[in-house]
């Protein structure tokens, strides 16, 4: 019963995540940018744009210029989260890939850094007047969700150890449509429930910043307006009045 409920929950969450993201990406792709609007100075070529985007993704370059504290907490959270996610790959592969195995001890530190980053960001939301003004209920809920995932994860490691062998069997069972029983550990159920919730809300929330950045015209356009004519399909209808 429990196994079935969580299996269905994860199938649904995965469908929402994949379907919702695919829809948004399709929508962003088909919406044209009618004008060249890179924030300059901007790279002149496509490889240059890739490099600029790479720096934004890996280093949060613009945020670094803007505010060192937000950058510190934000960068720490995101890269710790990445590490933790990679660490969790061991639940999806049998046998786990070697590099995932090597990553395990770092992933542990990652989870601390992740929580520290989240708490730092949350503190700013409360303590800095300007940020408090722009913060809404959903911003707190999102932080609560992520902190809940981190804390329940800790609890399984340090307080109430879970049968991870059984858990892994459950996860692999989901992947291969051969359901295995889910260990009925309350902390694990909370952890998994929160993760499913995060997956489900992803395409409907501000988490869309993740695909969004790739489509941001101020960052993904090359500065070549004089050399290369840019014309959106819908704007072509004005062309008849030319020459």
């Amino acid at each position: 019963m429990l196994t079935a409920a969580y299996a269905v929950l994860f199938y649904a969450a995965s469908l929402l995540l994949a379907g919702g993201l695919a829809y948004k990406i399709w929508q962003y792709t088909k919406t044209p940018a009618p004008l060249k609007i890179p924030t300059t100075p901007a790279p002149l070529t496509l490889p240059g744009v890739a490099l600029r985007m790479g720096r934004e993704l890996a280093l949060f370059e613009s945020l670094f210029r803007s505010n060192k504290w937000t950058w510190l907490f934000g960068w720490m959270f995101h890269f710790a989260l990445l590490l933790v996610l990679l660490r969790h790959l061991r639940y999806f592969t049998e046998p786990p890939w070697t590099w995932v195995v090597l990553l395990q001890p770092f992933g542990l530190y990652g989870s601390f850094a992740m929580l520290a980053g989240l708490l730092g960001l949350w503190l700013r939301r409360v303590a800095v007047e300007r940020i408090r003004y722009i913060t809404g209920p959903s911003d707190h809920v999102m932080l609560l969700l992520l902190c809940g995932i981190a804390v329940s994860g800790f609890a399984m490691r340090y307080v109430d150890r879970v049968d991870i062998v059984a858990l892994k069997a459950f996860v692999l069972g989901l992947m291969y449509f051969d359901w295995q029983p889910l260990p009925a550990d309350p902390v694990l159920l909370v952890h998994l429930g929160l993760v499913a919730a995060l997956m489900a809300v992803f395409p409907f929330s501000k988490l869309l910043h993740a695909p969004g950045i790739f489509f941001s015209p101020t960052r993904n356009q090359a500065d070549n307006a004089r050399e290369k004519r840019h014309l959106a399909p819908w704007a072509a209808k004005f062309e008849s009045t030319g020459k």
């Binding site: 044209p32 940018a33 949060f60 722009i134």
Partner: protein, 517 residues
């Protein structure tokens, strides 16, 4: 003195405490029905404006990737909250870029997202009520579309894109702004923002030729509508009569003269400015830009050079190829268009100009990077040329140059406070307060390095500074055109050496400085 408190100039920039509603009272004059209808917009707020606004909103979402992505992507991290000059100068929280965007985002959420339809209270979604529409009108006319927020946003979210879209929606339901719409109609009808007719223009140019000859003894021409000239100069119309703009125009003329390049101004396209960008209307912007194309074809010129004007250079550099291109009928050896700074710089590089730096020795200069030049265009063939080339010209013309603090120049530059269609007296309070960050940076170099003058390459910046600088204790003529410095320094062939020196100021042109471009 104005009837509001002047922001203080401090030692360093510190974000102000929030003062809710501090600028809520400031409402730019609405467009009269005649201004609206001249652009094909409804004359007054239409019946069923709510549904029509949402309909237009929907249409724009399908046409503009930036709008679509930027409304989704913001995480409210707060990186932009202390970056807007209008926020820094007023403390009104709705002048924080994210809060300004949220005025539109909350309506977007309500109508175009599932979360906003089902859980409006959770995600801050709201209906487009009359109060919200009023907030749109007030606060989207308190954004100069300078893009400083976009530089600092981790996703590059550009509030300019949002405020342009909001103004476009408001125009379509009959809630436009007088200043922009009246001016755009004038361009459609007459060819420039000022409504300057061809005879008046010819007269002005003739007068300038006489002034130059009187000053230098050299006959420098300012040709109008000369077919077959090599270069068509498209300058902001403020260059024809406002101070210090006109001194810049004299500078361009001297450079063309000395370079031996034939050139002309077009009376049909006698305006570089394109205020249609400010109202976010592709269609209007296209129509204004087409005048340039037509003039270029009619005059049979080979190159287009654009005068000192910030947003005009953005439109010219970034948008003309889209709006009025392709320019395959022009000389392919030169980029289309070229900035007059690029032209002058090239002449300096070639050694074609004789420049006497000492002619500007009575000034210690700094350079104000204009927002649209800095963050939305380029000069030369390298990124950042828009910063280096004007400074190179400046240094070639002056002995005393000092930059303002690093976090207030180049792509971190502060808007003058009058850009984006806000250079109107009904927004004077905003303009004065929004100039505070720039004035503070200027004061710092004035105090520490004895800076006396600030050079600019934007007609709006020049008009704005002329107007607001006295409030901060600077002379109104301490803002100068970059090509005014070139004009001072250039020694024309056949010019009497002694004649070179600071020009006299004529009374009537000085007074004209406060008019818009």
């Amino acid at each position: 003195m104005a009837d509001f408190d002047l922001p203080e100039l401090k030692e360093y920039t510190e974000p102000p405490r929030l003062v809710e509603g501090a600028m809520g009272h400031l409402r730019t004059y609405p467009a009269a029905p005649a201004h609206q209808e001249a652009l094909g917009f409804p004359g007054e707020l239409v019946e069923g404006w709510h549904d029509k606004a949402i309909e237009k909103f929907d249409e724009l979402l399908g046409q503009s990737r930036s709008l679509r992505v930027y409304l989704d992507a913001c995480v409210r991290c707060g990186a932009c909250t202390d970056k807007c000059h209008y926020f820094l100068g007023t403390g009104d929280p709705k002048n924080m870029p994210v809060a300004r965007q949220d005025l539109m985002r909350k309506v977007y959420r309500r109508h175009f997202t599932l979360a906003g339809k089902w859980f409006p209270w959770l995600v801050g979604a709201a209906d487009l009520t009359e109060e919200v529409l009023d907030d749109w009108y007030n606060y989207f006319h308190q954004c100069s579309q300078c893009r400083r927020c976009s530089v600092y946003c981790p996703y590059g979210i550009d509030t300019a894109e949002i405020s342009m879209a909001a103004r476009e929606i408001m125009d379509h339901i009959g809630k436009g702004q007088k200043y922009c719409n009246e001016i755009i109609a004038k361009v459609h009808k007459i060819g420039n923002n000022l409504g300057l007719q061809e005879p008046a223009l010819a007269n002005t140019l003739e007068g300038l030729e006489e002034d130059i000859e009187e000053e230098t003894g050299v006959k420098v021409r300012l040709p109008l509508d000369e077919k077959g000239a090599e270069v068509m100069l498209v300058a902001p119309s403020a260059d024809f009569f406002a101070e210090p703009h006109v001194d810049g125009l004299i500078g361009y003329a001297k450079v063309f003269h000395q370079a031996g390049v034939s050139w002309t101004i077009s009376s049909y396209a006698s305006e570089a400015a394109n205020f249609a960008m400010f109202i976010g209307s592709y269609e209007q912007m296209h129509e204004v830009a087409q005048r340039i194309r037509k003039a270029a074809l009619d005059l049979g010129i080979k190159r287009i050079v654009v005068g000192e004007c910030g947003h005009a250079w953005r439109v010219a550099y970034s948008f003309w190829n889209t709006l009025a291109g392709p320019f395959d009928f022009l000389d392919p050896n030169y980029p289309v268009p070229q900035h007059v700074c690029e032209f002058t710089y090239e002449q300096i590089q070639k050694g074609a100009l004789k420049l006497d730096k000492s002619a500007n020795d009575h000034m210690t200069l700094t350079f104000h990077d204009s927002c649209n030049v800095a963050r939305a265009s380029r000069m030369g063939d390298r990124p950042g040329g828009q910063f280096e080339i004007p400074r190179a010209i400046l240094k070639a013309c002056c002995n005393n140059f000092v930059d303002m603090p690093a976090d207030t120049i180049r792509d971190a530059t502060f808007c003058c406070g009058g850009g984006g269609g806000l250079l109107t007296d009904d927004l004077l309070e905003l303009r004065v307060k929004g100039a505070q960050p720039r004035m503070q940076a200027l004061k710092q170099v004035a105090d520490e390095h004895g800076v006396t003058h600030m050079a600019s390459i934007c007609a709006i910046c020049k008009s704005q500074f002329t107007k607001v600088m006295p409030d901060y204790g600077f002379d109104m003529d301490s803002v100068v055109s970059l090509h005014q410095l070139v004009s001072n320094a250039i020694v024309l062939d056949g010019q009497a050496e002694a004649a070179a020196g600071p020009e006299e100021e004529t009374e009537e042109t000085a007074a004209a400085g406060q008019a818009g471009p």
